[in-house]
Symmetry: C2
Subunit: 184 residues, 2 copies
DNA sequence: GTCTATAATCGGATAGAC
DNA sequence: GTCTATCCGATTATAGAC
């Protein structure tokens, strides 16, 4: 990939997209400045004009992740299937744009240049608040999140979806519906 | 750390312990041969006598991980608190030796030298089989695992334990007990 | 805003002494 | 079985032309 994928997008965004793809494919060690530049269709020098260092590049990625995931979480508040089903669906579909960002960030976890863990904690915390806004029992809300995060973990290791996963989602949704019926 | 931590253990094990610690602290990029050797209290040459390459070192780590996690899973079959509580406890305690290995392996996910994901999938699959041996409803068994894996994910990003987590575990245990009572 | 060329450093791996 | 010395390729970053 030596030609620039999309010229309508700003270069910054194209570079971050390239970084995301490389992180998903080969982890943090595959995401060298040269490789990212090549995948984005720019030169190393061109990349370094937009992000002055590897640290700045990583930070730019985390900043975008937070903006994206907050928007995604907010969006589910008005989702027809409800927040619960929406979160569990998002978590289990590794091709979802928002999920891709989170999985890429998880592959970045542990690097010294930036606080990846802090950004991820912030993102997950925001999701919890959104879920808890719809389920008044905090324990149940947390259970919903943990099931979703379990699905995230399995997406991270590329595990094939269990036959049971769909039924687990249905079961959790039912659990929430049951709770809501009790409350009135 | 330039002195060898424990001379009673075989050097191979000391080296793998050092690798594990470095992976947890700084991700895969921090686990250079030089750094691992230093943390283990041997020279680079000394390390390379036991593991001929970085690939061999990583593979040795994954091999040990599988042996350890199978033993851990088998051990819970006879645990007094039951498999369910045992898995959820293990998943949430980041200092547990077995959990440390899994978290370190997760930080290694994405490297090209070895099939980290494959090893992790195998480990999680084994755990599922152990859990499913005690809970005859496969959907419920999978739900238990996903909650535990959600806890793993939060341990991976160093997220502080939610106040609700203990109650979530209790709730899941109750869910399983309820199911068993129905079956008889 | 994007490029090429190059400097400086680091990481993996080999050879051979002890 | 462990060490030191060394080579080579890869990676980050800078300088300066276009």
């Amino acid at each position: 990939m030596s030609t620039r994928p999309d010229r309508s997008k700003p270069t910054r965004e194209v570079v971050l997209d390239a970084l995301e793809t490389l992180l998903l494919e080969g982890g943090s060690s595959a995401a060298t400045l040269e490789a990212v530049a090549a995948a984005a269709g720019v030169s190393k020098g061109g990349l370094l004009y937009h992000f002055g260092s590897k640290e700045a590049l990583y930070q730019g990625f985390l900043d975008r992740l937070l903006v994206e995931s907050r928007a995604e979480a907010d969006g589910t508040l008005t989702a027809p299937e409800g927040v619960v089903a929406a979160y569990l669906d998002v978590s289990s579909v590794a091709t979802d744009p928002s999920t891709r960002s989170v999985l890429a960030a998880l592959r970045l976890a542990g690097v010294q240049e930036v606080d990846v863990e802090g950004a991820l904690v912030e993102s997950f915390e925001y999701w919890y608040e959104v879920i808890a806004r719809r389920i008044d029992d905090p324990v149940l809300a947390r259970l919903v999140q943990l099931v979703g995060d379990g699905l995230y973990l399995h997406a991270l290791i590329g595990s094939v979806q269990h036959d049971e996963d769909e039924q687990v989602i249905a079961r959790v949704v039912a659990l929430v519906a049951e709770h809501e019926a009790e409350q009135g």
